[in-house]
């Protein structure tokens, strides 16, 4: 079997025994060794490949919380505040006014031949426009013949034009639901709030499936986004996986040039705890090099910005009613018990600190009955956890995946509206997690925020919010800690740290290929280090060609 030795300007291994090297040898898609050329020559015949001699290599980044829906959203029109890059590599500038939003949607409509095809926008976030409302009349400027629907970045509000309301059967007086604000004429003003209002309307325009159902194109586009971000292993965190859907994942990830390893979790919906755990066990032997199966995702509560997260006393800063449970305590404990018994890993979405406490209580109780030496049950988001909760998590052997990006995008909102200034400073507490000894990673939750682990690392290092202030300086972590979080840290929470997460002998040849050195740049510029592409399982993927 052929050995290729790559030279690089620098190789940051994340292996403490050998932190920086100049060469890495790859054989059969795996790392034969990392060191000096002279050391690696000892392995025998090789081909020296110098294409990366001006690049910096890191272990391929691992996104511990993403969704393949990210690959489907770019079929629609991006109208967010910040610049973003689509799966084709095209940069879309952020839009700073309602007029700009209308203009971009109108242009998208003009490119369509049929005058009735819906125009769907996504990523709109009026919190950056002083919460300017966008009404039916605004979107009627896009079109009066086709439905126009704009999904907001928070995921909890949707804006529609008159035609969309008409097609959804909602253009009438007499609505009484608080999620349907009315105009002076008594008709809906065009803003639809909360999922129970959005889904029956969105269904008319195919939006009910965008976030939940993968297809071939969305899986391929998701992987292309990964290459651009230096990601070699990513997650599809929460899918109603069955044999049909699994077949789709197998086919697409089995394509010879599929550039990423996809870790797919079965969401705890529509199955009894027993069936759920048994299904995960049954899919284990279908795990491949690029499709990793056998874990469960449970959603315990909602989101903080949507006021659906479960908060402990004293609750929301603006006095909003406490959020929603998506699972009953006894059901959560039952899933934990059965999963521990069968050695199936569970990742639990908790945003509010009450949901985090429930997960801690349930796991504590389950572990009392069924011991486990290395379960690595992971709390996902876990945004509001207190220091005491991190200590409890540490003693139970739990891991955490904190939502560092969220702090940048919604930190200001949390400070003045949802949880107030004091608790906003402790949100996504990376420093506390590390000090408490809770294995920690950080995530984007793409498509909720863009996939870019170096940005996520930057967010955890600097804790800047969109308004430019540092929120919770005590929780800042070092560049090295952040880089570890997006590589080995995430690998550990997926129980894949034996295979990926560092550049060392025996592991998969997964590299992020960078144009600059993240350990040398000013930490405030960490997010600006450019990604050339990736090496995944020894296969080379240039972002420019993907």
């Amino acid at each position: 079997m052929r050995t290729t030795i790559y030279s690089a300007k620098k190789i940051i291994t994340m292996n403490a025994n050998r932190p920086n090297v100049s060469h890495v040898a790859v054989r059969g898609g795996r790392i034969l060794g990392a060191g000096t050329l002279a050391e690696l020559e000892g392995w025998g015949d090789y081909v020296l490949d110098e294409r990366f001699k001006d690049k910096v290599l890191m272990p391929g980044f691992v996104e511990g919380h993403g969704h393949s829906a990210a690959g489907a959203l770019w079929d629609h029109v991006y109208v967010g505040w910040f610049d973003d890059v689509d799966s084709d590599g095209k940069r879309w500038s952020g839009l700073k006014s309602v007029d700009d939003v209308v203009e971009r949607l109108k242009r998208a409509g003009d490119e369509m031949t049929d005058q009735t095809t819906p125009v769907i926008g996504w990523g709109f976030d009026p919190i950056y426009m002083s919460n300017k409302r966008i009404g039916r009349a605004d979107l009627d400027r896009v079109s009066t013949t086709r439905p126009v629907v704009v999904m907001q970045a928070s995921g909890h509000i949707m804006n529609v034009n008159t035609r969309a309301l008409e097609l959804a059967g909602m253009l009438r007086t007499g609505h009484t639901h608080p999620g349907i604000p009315l105009g002076d004429d008594g008709l809906p003003a065009g803003e639809l709030k909360s999922p129970e209002i959005m889904t029956p309307v969105g269904r008319h325009f195919g939006l009910d499936s965008v976030m939940v159902t993968a297809n071939e194109a969305s899986l391929r586009n998701y992987a292309r986004l990964c290459v651009r971000a230096g990601v070699t292993t990513t997650t599809d965190l929460g899918v109603e996986l069955d044999d049909t859907l699994l077949g789709l994942y197998e086919n697409v990830t089995g394509e010879p040039d599929y550039p990423v390893c996809l870790v797919v979790l079965r969401i705890a919906f529509g199955a009894t705890p027993t069936d759920l755990v048994d299904y995960c066990v049954s899919t284990r032997n279908r795990t491949t090099e690029r499709l990793d199966l056998g874990r469960i995702k449970v959603i315990a509560d909602g989101s903080i910005q949507g006021f659906t997260a479960r908060l402990r006393w004293p609750g929301y800063y603006n006095g909003a009613e406490n959020g929603l449970w998506y699972i009953a305590p006894s059901q959560l404990e039952q899933i934990y018990e059965l999963a521990l018994m069968k050695n199936v890993q569970v990742h639990t979405h908790t945003n509010g600190d009450e949901a985090t406490q429930l997960a801690i209580d349930c796991l504590g109780s389950a572990l009392g009955k069924i011991g486990s030496a290395d379960h690595r049950f992971t709390l996902q988001h876990c945004q509001l956890a207190s220091t005491a909760q991190f200590r409890q998590m540490a003693s139970l052997g739990m891991c955490v995946n904190l939502f560092a990006n969220h702090h940048f995008y919604w930190g200001d909102e949390h400070s003045h509206l949802t949880v107030g200034p004091e608790r906003a400073k402790r949100m996504n507490a990376c420093r506390t997690a590390l000090e408490a000894g809770v294995p920690m990673t950080i995530h984007s939750d793409v498509p909720v925020t863009p996939l870019a682990p170096l940005f996520t690392a930057w967010a955890a290092v600097n804790r800047l919010t969109a308004s430019g202030r540092v929120l919770g300086a005590h929780q800042c972590i070092s560049v090295h800690e952040a880089l570890r979080a997006i590589t080995l840290g995430a690998a550990y929470t997926l129980k894949l740290d034996d295979e990926i997460g560092s550049i060392e002998v025996g592991k998969r040849a997964d590299f992020a290929v960078l144009e600059g050195d993240p350990t040398e740049v000013d930490p405030i510029s960490l997010k600006d280090v450019r990604v050339w592409g990736t090496v995944q399982g020894g296969r080379i993927f240039a972002a420019a060609d993907i």
């Binding site: 959804a168 059967g169 909602m170 639901h177 999620g179 909360s194 999922p195 129970e196 209002i197 889904t199 029956p200 309307v201 969105g202 269904r203 009910d208 499936s209 939940v212 109603e240 969401i267 705890a268 919906f269 529509g270 199955a271 009894t272 705890p273 759920l276 009613e321 406490n322 929603l324 449970w325 998506y326 699972i327 009953a328 305590p329 006894s330 059901q331 899933i335 009450e354 429930l358």
Partner: protein
């Protein structure tokens, strides 16, 4: 005619499954579609199941049951496409769902008619569950979002405790009709409303449910339909009421379930009469409308 949807909610163990099975056995001639989003087993007794293809369970009498996981809207759309069409849809909510959200989705779905929320409370457990700091507000909100409250397993607690629980319910969710039901035995006309209006056979006359009675109101002169519906809805003795009245501007259809009511103008003429169903001891109608015992 829009497809009526009745929502069955309540915390885990409150008896939702037992009620669903009771209705499947007793709503004779009515083709029910049951939608479930819980994490538990499909809530259908084995002897009622005729076929199970993994996603849709065929039930005796042409009924069906399917689990909808996270996507209620899509499940509702597929029920609307079912042929033959069901006569009535039952949604069994998960133990922690707030029924108001599900009701809002149903009300916004064209082709469906929201027929009310039954919230079940286990006479033995409800106060204990509501004392849990994790669950207190969820259970309170569930009860307050119910149109009819069903106090289940009343046989499992002493009379004094049952009375205390009924009083507690009144403080949590005031002025709701509270129906006591052992083994899910809620009369079909109370749980689902009069089925005869939806093409099924005539309603049973509360066989085995001697505690219920019905009264028909037949106002001879035109009435203010809104005022009449609102008076019936405000009367906790009335569990359900439905029927036609003549108003100064034409005919109207009244529909009342607990505190929820709607009034709909009807173009053509109908025999006048509003059937009110309630507990024998509590159904006292004194709203100035001529009535007769059915």
């Amino acid at each position: 005619m829009p497809l009526p949807v009745t929502l069955i909610a309540g915390y885990l163990g409150s008896g939702k499954t037992t009620l669903v099975n009771y209705l499947l056995r007793n709503a004779k001639g009515c083709r029910l579609a049951v939608l479930v989003n819980d994490f538990g087993d499909l809530p259908i007794d084995a002897d009622l199941i005729e076929a199970d293809d993994g996603t849709v369970v065929q039930i005796a009498g042409g009924c069906v049951c399917c689990a909808y996981g996270g996507n209620l809207s899509r499940a509702l759309a597929s029920v609307l496409e079912m042929r033959p069409r069901p006569n009535h849809v039952l949604i069994e909510a998960s133990g922690v769902s707030l029924p108001g959200s599900i009701a809002a989705t149903v009300e916004l779905t064209a082709g469906l008619w929201f027929n009310g929320t039954l919230v079940l409370a286990d006479a033995e457990q409800i106060r204990r569950n509501a004392a849990s700091s994790y669950l207190a507000d969820t259970i309170t909100r569930q009860l307050r979002q119910g149109d009819l409250l069903i106090l289940t397993k009343p046989d499992l607690v002493p009379d004094e405790e049952l009375a205390a629980t009924a009083n507690w319910l009144e403080t949590i969710a005031p002025r709701r009709p509270v129906v006591h039901a052992q083994f899910g035995a809620v009369p079909v006309d109370v749980a689902l409303g009069s089925l005869s209006a939806h093409g099924a056979g005539p309603a049973d006359k509360f066989n085995g449910h001697s505690r219920f009675k019905s009264v028909v109101l037949r106002p001879e002169r035109p009435v203010d339909a809104e005022a009449m519906a609102s008076a019936l809805a405000a009367n906790p003795g009335v569990a359900r009421a439905k029927g036609f009245v003549l108003t100064p501007s034409g005919y109207a259809l009244l529909h009342v379930v607990g505190p929820r009511y709607t009034v709909e103008s009807i173009a053509c003429s109908h025999p006048i009469g509003v059937v009110c169903i309630g507990l024998d001891a509590e159904l006292e109608l004194d709203c100035g409308f001529e009535s007769q015992i059915a």
